[in-house]
Amino acid sequence: MIQVVSLVGQASAAALPSILDVSGNLWLDVALKVVAIVALFLVAPLAIGYMEHKVMAHQQARFGPMDVGPHGTLQLVADGVKFMQKEGIVPRAADRWVFGMAPAVSLVAVLVVFLVIPFAPGLWAQDLDLGLFYVLAASSVGVLGVLMAGWASANKFSLIGGVRAAAQLIAYELPMVLAAAAVAVQAGTLSLAGIVEAQATSLIPGTSINVWYVFPQFIGFALFYVAALAELSRPPFDMPIADSELVFGFLTEYTGIRFGLFLLAEYAGMVAFSAILTVLYLGGWQILPGLAVPGCDGLFDCRWWGTLLAFGVTAGKIAALTFTMIWVRATYPRLREDQLQRLSWLALIPLSLLNIAVVAAAKVVL
Protein backbone atom coordinates (compact mmCIF):
# COMPACT_ATOMS: atom_id res chain seq x y z
CA MET A 1 0.00 0.00 0.00
CA ILE A 2 2.76 2.41 1.05
CA GLN A 3 4.53 1.62 -2.17
CA VAL A 4 1.45 2.36 -4.21
CA VAL A 5 0.82 5.58 -2.35
CA SER A 6 4.35 6.83 -2.76
CA LEU A 7 4.15 5.88 -6.40
CA VAL A 8 1.11 8.03 -6.81
CA GLY A 9 2.82 10.75 -4.85
CA GLN A 10 5.68 10.78 -7.32
CA ALA A 11 3.37 10.68 -10.28
CA SER A 12 3.49 13.72 -12.45
CA ALA A 13 0.44 15.01 -14.22
CA ALA A 14 2.06 14.55 -17.57
CA ALA A 15 2.78 10.83 -17.24
CA LEU A 16 -0.67 10.02 -15.77
CA PRO A 17 0.24 6.64 -14.27
CA SER A 18 -2.36 4.45 -12.67
CA ILE A 19 -2.58 3.82 -8.96
CA LEU A 20 -2.91 0.18 -9.86
CA ASP A 21 0.55 0.01 -11.45
CA VAL A 22 2.48 -2.17 -9.05
CA SER A 23 6.16 -1.46 -9.50
CA GLY A 24 6.52 -2.99 -12.89
CA ASN A 25 5.38 -6.53 -12.05
CA LEU A 26 3.28 -7.13 -15.12
CA TRP A 27 1.24 -10.12 -13.96
CA LEU A 28 0.54 -8.85 -10.48
CA ASP A 29 -0.43 -5.57 -12.05
CA VAL A 30 -2.83 -7.18 -14.49
CA ALA A 31 -4.33 -9.46 -11.85
CA LEU A 32 -4.91 -6.57 -9.46
CA LYS A 33 -6.59 -4.49 -12.13
CA VAL A 34 -8.81 -7.33 -13.28
CA VAL A 35 -9.91 -8.10 -9.72
CA ALA A 36 -10.61 -4.46 -8.96
CA ILE A 37 -12.58 -3.90 -12.15
CA VAL A 38 -14.62 -7.10 -11.82
CA ALA A 39 -15.39 -6.32 -8.18
CA LEU A 40 -16.57 -2.86 -9.14
CA PHE A 41 -18.48 -4.34 -12.04
CA LEU A 42 -20.32 -6.71 -9.72
CA VAL A 43 -20.93 -4.37 -6.80
CA ALA A 44 -21.94 -1.16 -8.57
CA PRO A 45 -24.91 -2.73 -10.40
CA LEU A 46 -26.20 -4.09 -7.09
CA ALA A 47 -26.14 -0.63 -5.58
CA ILE A 48 -27.74 0.88 -8.67
CA GLY A 49 -30.35 -1.87 -8.80
CA TYR A 50 -31.25 -1.30 -5.17
CA MET A 51 -31.49 2.40 -5.85
CA GLU A 52 -33.78 1.71 -8.78
CA HIS A 53 -36.03 -0.50 -6.64
CA LYS A 54 -36.31 2.09 -3.92
CA VAL A 55 -36.46 5.28 -5.96
CA MET A 56 -39.06 3.91 -8.33
CA ALA A 57 -41.08 2.53 -5.46
CA HIS A 58 -41.14 5.79 -3.57
CA GLN A 59 -41.93 7.72 -6.71
CA GLN A 60 -44.96 5.47 -7.03
CA ALA A 61 -45.93 5.99 -3.38
CA ARG A 62 -44.89 2.55 -2.15
CA PHE A 63 -41.95 1.03 -0.30
CA GLY A 64 -40.41 -1.45 -2.70
CA PRO A 65 -38.68 -4.54 -1.30
CA MET A 66 -38.67 -4.53 2.49
CA ASP A 67 -38.18 -8.09 3.67
CA VAL A 68 -34.81 -9.38 2.52
CA GLY A 69 -32.24 -7.73 4.72
CA PRO A 70 -32.83 -4.39 6.42
CA HIS A 71 -35.14 -2.41 4.14
CA GLY A 72 -34.72 -4.97 1.40
CA THR A 73 -31.03 -4.26 0.85
CA LEU A 74 -30.26 -7.88 0.07
CA GLN A 75 -33.13 -8.32 -2.36
CA LEU A 76 -30.88 -8.27 -5.40
CA VAL A 77 -28.49 -10.78 -3.84
CA ALA A 78 -31.47 -13.07 -3.28
CA ASP A 79 -32.55 -12.45 -6.86
CA GLY A 80 -29.08 -13.37 -8.07
CA VAL A 81 -29.20 -16.65 -6.15
CA LYS A 82 -32.64 -17.30 -7.59
CA PHE A 83 -31.40 -16.71 -11.14
CA MET A 84 -28.64 -19.23 -10.56
CA GLN A 85 -31.05 -21.84 -9.27
CA LYS A 86 -33.45 -21.54 -12.17
CA GLU A 87 -33.21 -23.92 -15.06
CA GLY A 88 -31.60 -22.39 -18.13
CA ILE A 89 -33.99 -23.31 -20.91
CA VAL A 90 -32.86 -23.14 -24.51
CA PRO A 91 -35.69 -23.30 -27.08
CA ARG A 92 -35.36 -26.28 -29.39
CA ALA A 93 -35.31 -24.18 -32.54
CA ALA A 94 -32.78 -21.75 -31.09
CA ASP A 95 -29.24 -21.39 -32.34
CA ARG A 96 -27.66 -22.81 -29.20
CA TRP A 97 -24.23 -21.25 -29.45
CA VAL A 98 -25.32 -17.79 -30.40
CA PHE A 99 -28.13 -17.94 -27.87
CA GLY A 100 -25.72 -18.85 -25.11
CA MET A 101 -23.09 -16.32 -26.10
CA ALA A 102 -25.39 -13.30 -26.43
CA PRO A 103 -25.48 -12.39 -22.71
CA ALA A 104 -21.71 -12.70 -22.52
CA VAL A 105 -21.26 -10.34 -25.47
CA SER A 106 -23.51 -7.76 -23.83
CA LEU A 107 -21.70 -8.12 -20.56
CA VAL A 108 -18.15 -8.02 -21.85
CA ALA A 109 -18.90 -4.94 -23.92
CA VAL A 110 -19.73 -3.06 -20.73
CA LEU A 111 -16.98 -4.66 -18.70
CA VAL A 112 -14.26 -3.45 -21.06
CA VAL A 113 -15.63 0.09 -20.88
CA PHE A 114 -14.82 0.06 -17.16
CA LEU A 115 -11.16 -0.47 -17.99
CA VAL A 116 -10.54 3.08 -19.15
CA ILE A 117 -12.84 5.11 -16.91
CA PRO A 118 -10.83 7.34 -14.58
CA PHE A 119 -12.55 7.21 -11.19
CA ALA A 120 -9.95 9.22 -9.31
CA PRO A 121 -6.42 10.47 -9.87
CA GLY A 122 -4.49 7.42 -10.91
CA LEU A 123 -7.46 5.18 -10.25
CA TRP A 124 -7.97 3.59 -13.63
CA ALA A 125 -6.88 0.37 -15.19
CA GLN A 126 -5.57 1.88 -18.39
CA ASP A 127 -5.46 5.37 -19.77
CA LEU A 128 -5.64 5.01 -23.52
CA ASP A 129 -4.77 7.87 -25.80
CA LEU A 130 -7.89 6.99 -27.73
CA GLY A 131 -9.96 6.43 -24.61
CA LEU A 132 -13.09 8.21 -25.76
CA PHE A 133 -13.04 6.47 -29.10
CA TYR A 134 -12.53 3.12 -27.38
CA VAL A 135 -15.43 3.72 -24.99
CA LEU A 136 -17.87 4.58 -27.76
CA ALA A 137 -16.76 1.63 -29.86
CA ALA A 138 -16.90 -0.87 -27.00
CA SER A 139 -20.25 0.26 -25.68
CA SER A 140 -21.94 -0.12 -29.03
CA VAL A 141 -20.80 -3.74 -29.22
CA GLY A 142 -23.35 -4.41 -26.48
CA VAL A 143 -26.13 -3.96 -29.00
CA LEU A 144 -24.60 -6.79 -30.98
CA GLY A 145 -25.36 -9.03 -28.02
CA VAL A 146 -28.96 -7.87 -28.10
CA LEU A 147 -29.20 -8.52 -31.82
CA MET A 148 -27.68 -11.98 -31.34
CA ALA A 149 -30.17 -12.73 -28.59
CA GLY A 150 -33.06 -11.61 -30.76
CA TRP A 151 -31.94 -13.57 -33.80
CA ALA A 152 -30.93 -16.78 -32.03
CA SER A 153 -34.08 -17.12 -29.93
CA ALA A 154 -36.16 -18.37 -32.87
CA ASN A 155 -39.03 -16.24 -31.66
CA LYS A 156 -40.86 -13.52 -33.55
CA PHE A 157 -41.03 -11.19 -30.59
CA SER A 158 -37.36 -11.62 -29.82
CA LEU A 159 -36.47 -10.94 -33.42
CA ILE A 160 -38.51 -7.77 -33.56
CA GLY A 161 -36.89 -6.68 -30.31
CA GLY A 162 -33.41 -7.36 -31.65
CA VAL A 163 -34.06 -5.53 -34.90
CA ARG A 164 -35.51 -2.59 -33.01
CA ALA A 165 -32.38 -2.49 -30.90
CA ALA A 166 -30.25 -2.38 -34.04
CA ALA A 167 -32.34 0.42 -35.53
CA GLN A 168 -32.09 2.29 -32.27
CA LEU A 169 -28.32 1.87 -32.19
CA ILE A 170 -27.94 3.30 -35.67
CA ALA A 171 -30.19 6.24 -34.89
CA TYR A 172 -28.65 7.17 -31.55
CA GLU A 173 -25.01 6.31 -32.06
CA LEU A 174 -24.73 9.29 -34.36
CA PRO A 175 -25.80 12.08 -31.95
CA MET A 176 -23.79 10.42 -29.21
CA VAL A 177 -20.59 10.30 -31.24
CA LEU A 178 -21.08 13.84 -32.49
CA ALA A 179 -21.66 15.13 -28.96
CA ALA A 180 -18.59 13.29 -27.69
CA ALA A 181 -16.58 14.59 -30.65
CA ALA A 182 -17.47 18.14 -29.67
CA VAL A 183 -16.02 17.44 -26.22
CA ALA A 184 -12.88 16.03 -27.79
CA VAL A 185 -12.58 19.12 -29.96
CA GLN A 186 -12.84 21.44 -27.01
CA ALA A 187 -10.48 19.39 -24.85
CA GLY A 188 -8.02 18.72 -27.62
CA THR A 189 -7.55 15.12 -26.52
CA LEU A 190 -9.28 11.76 -26.68
CA SER A 191 -7.81 10.49 -23.44
CA LEU A 192 -10.43 10.42 -20.69
CA ALA A 193 -8.02 11.51 -17.98
CA GLY A 194 -6.87 14.20 -20.34
CA ILE A 195 -10.44 15.42 -20.74
CA VAL A 196 -10.82 15.69 -16.98
CA GLU A 197 -7.60 17.65 -16.84
CA ALA A 198 -8.70 19.91 -19.68
CA GLN A 199 -11.91 20.69 -17.83
CA ALA A 200 -9.96 21.70 -14.75
CA THR A 201 -8.15 24.30 -16.81
CA SER A 202 -10.93 25.44 -19.13
CA LEU A 203 -11.83 29.04 -18.40
CA ILE A 204 -14.53 31.34 -19.65
CA PRO A 205 -12.65 33.41 -22.23
CA GLY A 206 -11.40 36.67 -20.80
CA THR A 207 -12.00 35.69 -17.18
CA SER A 208 -10.43 33.33 -14.68
CA ILE A 209 -13.68 31.47 -13.96
CA ASN A 210 -13.33 27.74 -14.40
CA VAL A 211 -16.17 25.89 -16.15
CA TRP A 212 -16.90 22.26 -16.77
CA TYR A 213 -17.97 21.32 -20.26
CA VAL A 214 -21.57 20.95 -19.20
CA PHE A 215 -21.87 24.76 -19.20
CA PRO A 216 -20.58 25.66 -22.67
CA GLN A 217 -21.89 22.43 -24.13
CA PHE A 218 -25.14 21.95 -22.34
CA ILE A 219 -26.81 20.89 -25.58
CA GLY A 220 -24.10 18.31 -26.09
CA PHE A 221 -24.63 17.04 -22.55
CA ALA A 222 -28.36 16.69 -23.11
CA LEU A 223 -27.79 14.95 -26.43
CA PHE A 224 -25.32 12.52 -24.95
CA TYR A 225 -27.65 11.84 -22.02
CA VAL A 226 -30.65 11.09 -24.24
CA ALA A 227 -28.55 9.00 -26.59
CA ALA A 228 -27.14 7.07 -23.63
CA LEU A 229 -30.65 6.27 -22.44
CA ALA A 230 -31.50 5.03 -25.92
CA GLU A 231 -28.29 3.04 -26.16
CA LEU A 232 -29.05 1.36 -22.85
CA SER A 233 -32.66 0.79 -23.96
CA ARG A 234 -33.81 2.37 -20.73
CA PRO A 235 -37.34 3.76 -20.63
CA PRO A 236 -38.59 5.88 -22.32
CA PHE A 237 -36.52 4.25 -25.07
CA ASP A 238 -37.05 0.60 -24.16
CA MET A 239 -38.61 -0.46 -27.45
CA PRO A 240 -36.36 -3.52 -27.76
CA ILE A 241 -38.07 -4.87 -24.64
CA ALA A 242 -41.43 -3.09 -24.79
CA ASP A 243 -43.29 -5.57 -22.61
CA SER A 244 -46.70 -4.28 -23.64
CA GLU A 245 -45.99 -5.02 -27.30
CA LEU A 246 -43.28 -7.66 -27.55
CA VAL A 247 -43.77 -9.88 -24.48
CA PHE A 248 -40.23 -9.16 -23.32
CA GLY A 249 -38.52 -8.36 -26.60
CA PHE A 250 -35.15 -9.96 -27.10
CA LEU A 251 -35.26 -11.35 -23.55
CA THR A 252 -38.45 -13.33 -24.10
CA GLU A 253 -36.75 -16.73 -24.32
CA TYR A 254 -34.12 -16.14 -21.67
CA THR A 255 -34.29 -17.75 -18.27
CA GLY A 256 -32.12 -18.25 -15.24
CA ILE A 257 -28.61 -16.97 -15.07
CA ARG A 258 -28.51 -15.84 -18.70
CA PHE A 259 -31.41 -13.51 -18.03
CA GLY A 260 -29.63 -12.34 -14.90
CA LEU A 261 -26.51 -11.54 -16.95
CA PHE A 262 -28.54 -9.36 -19.30
CA LEU A 263 -29.92 -7.47 -16.32
CA LEU A 264 -26.43 -7.11 -14.89
CA ALA A 265 -25.26 -5.73 -18.24
CA GLU A 266 -28.05 -3.17 -18.21
CA TYR A 267 -27.24 -1.89 -14.73
CA ALA A 268 -23.50 -1.95 -15.34
CA GLY A 269 -24.21 -0.04 -18.54
CA MET A 270 -26.02 2.61 -16.51
CA VAL A 271 -22.97 2.97 -14.30
CA ALA A 272 -20.63 3.04 -17.28
CA PHE A 273 -22.56 5.70 -19.18
CA SER A 274 -23.03 7.81 -16.05
CA ALA A 275 -19.28 7.58 -15.47
CA ILE A 276 -18.60 8.67 -19.05
CA LEU A 277 -20.99 11.59 -18.68
CA THR A 278 -19.23 12.53 -15.46
CA VAL A 279 -15.86 12.45 -17.12
CA LEU A 280 -16.88 14.24 -20.31
CA TYR A 281 -19.11 16.95 -18.91
CA LEU A 282 -19.06 17.09 -15.13
CA GLY A 283 -15.38 17.54 -14.47
CA GLY A 284 -14.59 14.02 -13.22
CA TRP A 285 -13.48 14.12 -9.62
CA GLN A 286 -13.47 17.87 -9.05
CA ILE A 287 -15.92 18.87 -6.35
CA LEU A 288 -16.96 22.15 -7.97
CA PRO A 289 -15.63 23.92 -11.04
CA GLY A 290 -12.24 25.27 -10.04
CA LEU A 291 -12.31 23.40 -6.71
CA ALA A 292 -10.12 20.32 -6.60
CA VAL A 293 -10.43 17.61 -3.99
CA PRO A 294 -8.77 18.36 -0.64
CA GLY A 295 -5.79 16.12 -0.09
CA CYS A 296 -4.70 16.68 -3.63
CA ASP A 297 -2.03 18.96 -4.93
CA GLY A 298 -3.35 20.00 -8.30
CA LEU A 299 -5.47 17.48 -10.13
CA PHE A 300 -3.27 14.41 -10.08
CA ASP A 301 -0.92 14.53 -7.09
CA CYS A 302 -3.02 13.08 -4.33
CA ARG A 303 -2.32 11.50 -1.02
CA TRP A 304 -4.18 8.26 -0.47
CA TRP A 305 -7.10 9.87 1.30
CA GLY A 306 -7.30 12.47 -1.41
CA THR A 307 -7.64 9.64 -3.91
CA LEU A 308 -10.37 8.06 -1.82
CA LEU A 309 -12.19 11.35 -1.57
CA ALA A 310 -11.86 11.88 -5.31
CA PHE A 311 -13.33 8.43 -5.89
CA GLY A 312 -16.19 9.39 -3.59
CA VAL A 313 -16.86 12.53 -5.60
CA THR A 314 -16.93 10.58 -8.86
CA ALA A 315 -19.17 7.94 -7.33
CA GLY A 316 -21.50 10.66 -6.07
CA LYS A 317 -21.81 12.18 -9.51
CA ILE A 318 -22.40 8.77 -11.04
CA ALA A 319 -25.10 8.07 -8.45
CA ALA A 320 -26.76 11.41 -9.14
CA LEU A 321 -26.82 10.71 -12.87
CA THR A 322 -28.20 7.20 -12.45
CA PHE A 323 -30.80 8.66 -10.11
CA THR A 324 -31.98 10.93 -12.92
CA MET A 325 -32.11 7.93 -15.27
CA ILE A 326 -34.38 6.14 -12.81
CA TRP A 327 -36.40 9.27 -12.27
CA VAL A 328 -36.95 9.60 -16.02
CA ARG A 329 -37.93 5.95 -16.19
CA ALA A 330 -40.55 6.34 -13.48
CA THR A 331 -41.98 9.46 -15.10
CA TYR A 332 -42.19 9.05 -18.86
CA PRO A 333 -44.13 6.57 -20.93
CA ARG A 334 -42.39 4.70 -23.70
CA LEU A 335 -42.08 6.38 -27.08
CA ARG A 336 -43.53 4.73 -30.14
CA GLU A 337 -41.00 3.22 -32.54
CA ASP A 338 -41.60 5.90 -35.20
CA GLN A 339 -41.43 8.66 -32.59
CA LEU A 340 -38.10 7.29 -31.50
CA GLN A 341 -36.67 7.44 -35.01
CA ARG A 342 -38.23 10.83 -35.66
CA LEU A 343 -36.74 12.25 -32.47
CA SER A 344 -33.29 11.10 -33.41
CA TRP A 345 -33.16 11.93 -37.12
CA LEU A 346 -35.18 15.14 -37.07
CA ALA A 347 -34.12 16.63 -33.76
CA LEU A 348 -31.06 15.13 -32.14
CA ILE A 349 -28.83 14.69 -35.16
CA PRO A 350 -29.35 18.22 -36.58
CA LEU A 351 -28.82 19.59 -33.08
CA SER A 352 -25.64 17.62 -32.61
CA LEU A 353 -24.31 18.81 -35.97
CA LEU A 354 -25.05 22.37 -34.95
CA ASN A 355 -23.40 21.73 -31.60
CA ILE A 356 -20.18 20.42 -33.08
CA ALA A 357 -20.09 23.22 -35.66
CA VAL A 358 -20.45 25.88 -32.98
CA VAL A 359 -17.88 24.25 -30.72
CA ALA A 360 -15.39 23.87 -33.56
CA ALA A 361 -15.91 27.49 -34.64
CA ALA A 362 -15.49 28.68 -31.07
CA LYS A 363 -12.34 26.62 -30.71
CA VAL A 364 -10.83 28.24 -33.81
CA VAL A 365 -11.94 31.79 -33.00
CA LEU A 366 -11.13 31.93 -29.28
Binding site: H58, Q59, Q60, A61, R62, F63, W327, T331, Y332
Partner: protein, 260 residues
Protein backbone atom coordinates in the same frame (compact mmCIF):
# COMPACT_ATOMS: atom_id res chain seq x y z
CA UNK B 1 -65.71 22.06 -24.05
CA UNK B 2 -62.63 23.73 -25.38
CA UNK B 3 -60.93 21.80 -28.11
CA UNK B 4 -57.38 22.76 -27.25
CA UNK B 5 -56.13 23.08 -23.72
CA UNK B 6 -54.38 26.34 -22.88
CA UNK B 7 -50.63 26.15 -23.16
CA UNK B 8 -49.32 25.13 -19.75
CA UNK B 9 -46.91 27.44 -17.96
CA UNK B 10 -44.54 24.60 -17.08
CA UNK B 11 -43.77 22.16 -19.90
CA UNK B 12 -45.45 18.81 -19.35
CA UNK B 13 -42.17 16.95 -19.36
CA UNK B 14 -40.86 18.94 -16.42
CA UNK B 15 -44.18 18.87 -14.65
CA UNK B 16 -44.11 15.07 -14.80
CA UNK B 17 -40.68 15.01 -13.21
CA UNK B 18 -42.01 17.29 -10.51
CA UNK B 19 -44.88 14.96 -9.77
CA UNK B 20 -42.66 11.91 -9.34
CA UNK B 21 -40.21 13.86 -7.21
CA UNK B 22 -42.95 15.13 -4.97
CA UNK B 23 -44.39 11.66 -4.60
CA UNK B 24 -40.97 10.34 -3.69
CA UNK B 25 -40.60 12.90 -0.91
CA UNK B 26 -44.01 12.26 0.62
CA UNK B 27 -44.22 9.19 2.83
CA UNK B 28 -45.61 6.05 1.23
CA UNK B 29 -48.99 4.88 2.41
CA UNK B 30 -48.26 1.17 2.02
CA UNK B 31 -49.14 -0.97 5.03
CA UNK B 32 -46.65 -3.71 5.88
CA UNK B 33 -49.43 -6.26 6.12
CA UNK B 34 -48.05 -9.51 7.50
CA UNK B 35 -45.93 -7.60 10.00
CA UNK B 36 -48.56 -5.03 10.88
CA UNK B 37 -52.09 -6.33 11.13
CA UNK B 38 -54.66 -4.14 9.45
CA UNK B 39 -57.22 -2.51 11.72
CA UNK B 40 -60.34 -3.37 9.80
CA UNK B 41 -63.82 -2.08 10.33
CA UNK B 42 -65.75 -4.45 12.64
CA UNK B 43 -68.26 -5.44 9.97
CA UNK B 44 -65.66 -6.13 7.31
CA UNK B 45 -66.74 -8.77 4.80
CA UNK B 46 -63.96 -11.29 5.07
CA UNK B 47 -65.50 -14.73 4.92
CA UNK B 48 -68.92 -16.36 5.13
CA UNK B 49 -69.82 -18.05 8.40
CA UNK B 50 -72.59 -20.60 8.89
CA UNK B 51 -74.82 -20.79 11.95
CA UNK B 52 -75.45 -24.46 11.49
CA UNK B 53 -78.24 -24.64 14.08
CA UNK B 54 -80.33 -22.18 12.08
CA UNK B 55 -79.98 -23.84 8.70
CA UNK B 56 -83.07 -25.71 7.56
CA UNK B 57 -81.54 -26.96 4.32
CA UNK B 58 -83.95 -24.90 2.30
CA UNK B 59 -81.31 -24.74 -0.45
CA UNK B 60 -82.08 -21.14 -1.31
CA UNK B 61 -78.50 -20.04 -0.88
CA UNK B 62 -77.12 -22.81 -3.06
CA UNK B 63 -79.63 -22.03 -5.77
CA UNK B 64 -79.11 -18.30 -5.74
CA UNK B 65 -75.34 -18.41 -5.65
CA UNK B 66 -74.23 -17.11 -9.06
CA UNK B 67 -71.13 -19.27 -8.96
CA UNK B 68 -72.83 -22.37 -7.67
CA UNK B 69 -70.11 -22.81 -5.17
CA UNK B 70 -72.21 -23.85 -2.16
CA UNK B 71 -72.46 -27.60 -1.70
CA UNK B 72 -75.25 -28.90 0.53
CA UNK B 73 -76.08 -32.50 1.35
CA UNK B 74 -78.80 -33.58 3.72
CA UNK B 75 -81.19 -36.36 4.65
CA UNK B 76 -84.68 -36.42 6.11
CA UNK B 77 -85.26 -37.54 9.65
CA UNK B 78 -88.50 -38.46 11.36
CA UNK B 79 -89.30 -36.48 14.46
CA UNK B 80 -91.71 -38.05 16.99
CA UNK B 81 -94.94 -36.10 17.50
CA UNK B 82 -94.67 -33.16 19.83
CA UNK B 83 -97.97 -33.93 21.56
CA UNK B 84 -99.60 -37.20 22.41
CA UNK B 85 -101.45 -38.61 19.44
CA UNK B 86 -99.96 -36.04 17.07
CA UNK B 87 -98.54 -36.67 13.68
CA UNK B 88 -94.92 -37.58 13.05
CA UNK B 89 -92.97 -34.83 11.32
CA UNK B 90 -90.01 -35.00 9.01
CA UNK B 91 -87.08 -32.71 9.38
CA UNK B 92 -84.04 -32.01 7.20
CA UNK B 93 -80.77 -32.92 8.77
CA UNK B 94 -77.72 -31.14 7.35
CA UNK B 95 -74.90 -33.53 6.45
CA UNK B 96 -72.58 -31.33 4.50
CA UNK B 97 -72.40 -27.62 3.92
CA UNK B 98 -69.34 -26.39 2.09
CA UNK B 99 -68.43 -23.19 0.31
CA UNK B 100 -65.73 -23.24 -2.32
CA UNK B 101 -63.95 -19.97 -1.65
CA UNK B 102 -61.87 -20.47 -4.76
CA UNK B 103 -65.03 -19.82 -6.76
CA UNK B 104 -66.91 -17.53 -4.41
CA UNK B 105 -66.85 -13.92 -5.51
CA UNK B 106 -68.06 -12.56 -2.17
CA UNK B 107 -71.19 -11.08 -3.68
CA UNK B 108 -73.10 -11.77 -0.48
CA UNK B 109 -76.22 -13.00 -2.26
CA UNK B 110 -76.30 -16.19 -0.20
CA UNK B 111 -76.33 -14.17 2.99
CA UNK B 112 -79.04 -11.85 1.72
CA UNK B 113 -81.21 -14.69 0.58
CA UNK B 114 -81.04 -16.98 3.60
CA UNK B 115 -84.49 -16.70 5.23
CA UNK B 116 -83.39 -18.31 8.51
CA UNK B 117 -80.41 -16.15 9.46
CA UNK B 118 -77.96 -18.99 9.03
CA UNK B 119 -75.30 -17.21 6.97
CA UNK B 120 -73.28 -14.22 8.12
CA UNK B 121 -70.35 -12.12 7.06
CA UNK B 122 -67.36 -12.67 9.30
CA UNK B 123 -64.46 -10.21 9.33
CA UNK B 124 -61.93 -13.08 9.34
CA UNK B 125 -59.80 -12.90 6.21
CA UNK B 126 -56.57 -14.80 6.82
CA UNK B 127 -57.45 -18.18 5.39
CA UNK B 128 -55.22 -18.38 2.37
CA UNK B 129 -53.89 -21.82 1.52
CA UNK B 130 -51.17 -23.38 -0.57
CA UNK B 131 -53.48 -25.41 -2.78
CA UNK B 132 -56.72 -24.39 -4.35
CA UNK B 133 -58.54 -27.48 -3.11
CA UNK B 134 -58.05 -26.46 0.50
CA UNK B 135 -60.20 -23.43 -0.14
CA UNK B 136 -63.34 -25.57 0.05
CA UNK B 137 -64.36 -25.06 3.64
CA UNK B 138 -66.76 -27.47 5.31
CA UNK B 139 -69.46 -26.67 7.82
CA UNK B 140 -67.22 -27.24 10.84
CA UNK B 141 -64.90 -24.48 9.74
CA UNK B 142 -67.79 -22.26 8.71
CA UNK B 143 -69.30 -22.77 12.17
CA UNK B 144 -66.03 -21.79 13.84
CA UNK B 145 -66.05 -18.54 11.93
CA UNK B 146 -69.46 -17.84 13.44
CA UNK B 147 -67.64 -16.99 16.68
CA UNK B 148 -65.91 -14.10 14.98
CA UNK B 149 -69.11 -12.54 13.69
CA UNK B 150 -69.72 -9.32 15.63
CA UNK B 151 -73.10 -8.97 17.34
CA UNK B 152 -75.68 -7.06 15.33
CA UNK B 153 -75.65 -3.32 15.95
CA UNK B 154 -78.18 -2.16 18.56
CA UNK B 155 -81.54 -1.01 17.32
CA UNK B 156 -82.20 2.64 16.94
CA UNK B 157 -83.71 4.52 19.85
CA UNK B 158 -87.46 3.85 19.91
CA UNK B 159 -87.34 1.26 17.17
CA UNK B 160 -89.87 -1.54 17.23
CA UNK B 161 -88.51 -4.74 18.65
CA UNK B 162 -88.21 -7.58 16.18
CA UNK B 163 -91.21 -9.87 16.73
CA UNK B 164 -89.18 -13.04 17.25
CA UNK B 165 -87.16 -11.32 19.95
CA UNK B 166 -90.32 -10.08 21.63
CA UNK B 167 -91.82 -13.55 21.61
CA UNK B 168 -88.69 -15.07 23.04
CA UNK B 169 -88.49 -12.44 25.76
CA UNK B 170 -92.11 -12.95 26.69
CA UNK B 171 -91.59 -16.68 27.00
CA UNK B 172 -88.50 -16.23 29.14
CA UNK B 173 -90.29 -13.71 31.36
CA UNK B 174 -93.22 -16.04 31.87
CA UNK B 175 -90.90 -18.86 32.87
CA UNK B 176 -89.12 -16.59 35.29
CA UNK B 177 -92.36 -15.43 36.92
CA UNK B 178 -93.46 -19.03 37.33
CA UNK B 179 -90.15 -19.97 38.90
CA UNK B 180 -90.27 -16.97 41.26
CA UNK B 181 -93.79 -17.88 42.30
CA UNK B 182 -92.69 -21.44 43.05
CA UNK B 183 -89.78 -20.14 45.07
CA UNK B 184 -91.98 -17.84 47.11
CA UNK B 185 -94.35 -20.68 47.76
CA UNK B 186 -91.47 -22.85 48.95
CA UNK B 187 -90.18 -20.20 51.38
CA UNK B 188 -93.69 -19.66 52.76
CA UNK B 189 -93.98 -23.38 53.26
CA UNK B 190 -90.65 -23.40 55.05
CA UNK B 191 -91.81 -20.52 57.29
CA UNK B 192 -94.93 -22.46 58.11
CA UNK B 193 -92.63 -25.20 59.32
CA UNK B 194 -93.17 -27.51 56.43
CA UNK B 195 -90.42 -29.65 54.95
CA UNK B 196 -87.75 -27.17 53.95
CA UNK B 197 -86.54 -28.78 50.76
CA UNK B 198 -84.27 -26.83 48.51
CA UNK B 199 -86.33 -24.42 46.48
CA UNK B 200 -86.51 -25.91 43.03
CA UNK B 201 -85.95 -23.61 40.12
CA UNK B 202 -84.47 -21.00 42.41
CA UNK B 203 -84.05 -17.77 40.52
CA UNK B 204 -81.96 -14.94 41.76
CA UNK B 205 -83.74 -11.64 41.57
CA UNK B 206 -80.66 -9.78 40.55
CA UNK B 207 -80.74 -11.03 36.99
CA UNK B 208 -81.85 -7.65 35.73
CA UNK B 209 -78.51 -5.96 36.23
CA UNK B 210 -77.74 -3.62 33.38
CA UNK B 211 -74.09 -3.02 32.73
CA UNK B 212 -72.71 -0.67 30.14
CA UNK B 213 -70.12 -2.71 28.25
CA UNK B 214 -66.60 -1.37 28.33
CA UNK B 215 -63.30 -2.85 27.23
CA UNK B 216 -61.41 -4.46 30.07
CA UNK B 217 -57.88 -3.23 29.31
CA UNK B 218 -56.06 -6.01 31.21
CA UNK B 219 -57.94 -8.76 29.45
CA UNK B 220 -57.60 -6.94 26.15
CA UNK B 221 -53.83 -6.64 26.44
CA UNK B 222 -53.50 -10.24 27.59
CA UNK B 223 -55.50 -11.48 24.61
CA UNK B 224 -53.48 -9.33 22.23
CA UNK B 225 -50.32 -10.78 23.71
CA UNK B 226 -51.77 -14.23 23.07
CA UNK B 227 -51.90 -13.30 19.39
CA UNK B 228 -55.65 -12.82 19.11
CA UNK B 229 -56.78 -10.27 16.56
CA UNK B 230 -57.76 -6.88 17.87
CA UNK B 231 -61.38 -7.43 17.05
CA UNK B 232 -61.68 -10.72 18.88
CA UNK B 233 -59.73 -9.36 21.82
CA UNK B 234 -62.01 -6.35 22.03
CA UNK B 235 -65.16 -8.47 21.98
CA UNK B 236 -63.88 -10.87 24.62
CA UNK B 237 -62.56 -8.09 26.80
CA UNK B 238 -65.99 -6.47 26.74
CA UNK B 239 -67.65 -9.73 27.69
CA UNK B 240 -65.17 -10.24 30.51
CA UNK B 241 -65.84 -6.73 31.77
CA UNK B 242 -69.58 -7.27 31.79
CA UNK B 243 -69.21 -10.57 33.63
CA UNK B 244 -66.96 -9.04 36.24
CA UNK B 245 -69.22 -6.02 36.75
CA UNK B 246 -72.26 -8.22 37.17
CA UNK B 247 -70.45 -10.41 39.69
CA UNK B 248 -69.37 -7.31 41.61
CA UNK B 249 -72.87 -5.82 41.72
CA UNK B 250 -74.33 -9.16 42.70
CA UNK B 251 -71.82 -9.47 45.56
CA UNK B 252 -72.67 -5.95 46.68
CA UNK B 253 -76.37 -6.69 46.73
CA UNK B 254 -75.83 -9.94 48.55
CA UNK B 255 -73.75 -8.07 51.15
CA UNK B 256 -76.44 -5.43 51.50
CA UNK B 257 -79.14 -8.11 51.77
CA UNK B 258 -77.11 -10.02 54.39
CA UNK B 259 -76.56 -6.85 56.44
CA UNK B 260 -80.26 -5.89 56.40
Amino acid sequence: MKLSAPKPKVPGLLKGLGVTLKTMLTPAVTRQYPHVKPDLAPRTRGVIALMEENCTVCMLCARECPDWCIYIESHKERVPPATEGGRERTRNQLDRFAIDFALCMYCGICIEVCPFDALFWSPEFEYSTYTIGELIHEKERLREWMDTVPPPPPLEEGAEQPPELGAALERANKERQAALAAQRQATEQAARGGPAGPARGAVREDEEIEVEAEVDQDVYQALLAEGKSERVARARAKAAYVRKEKARIRAERAAAGGGA
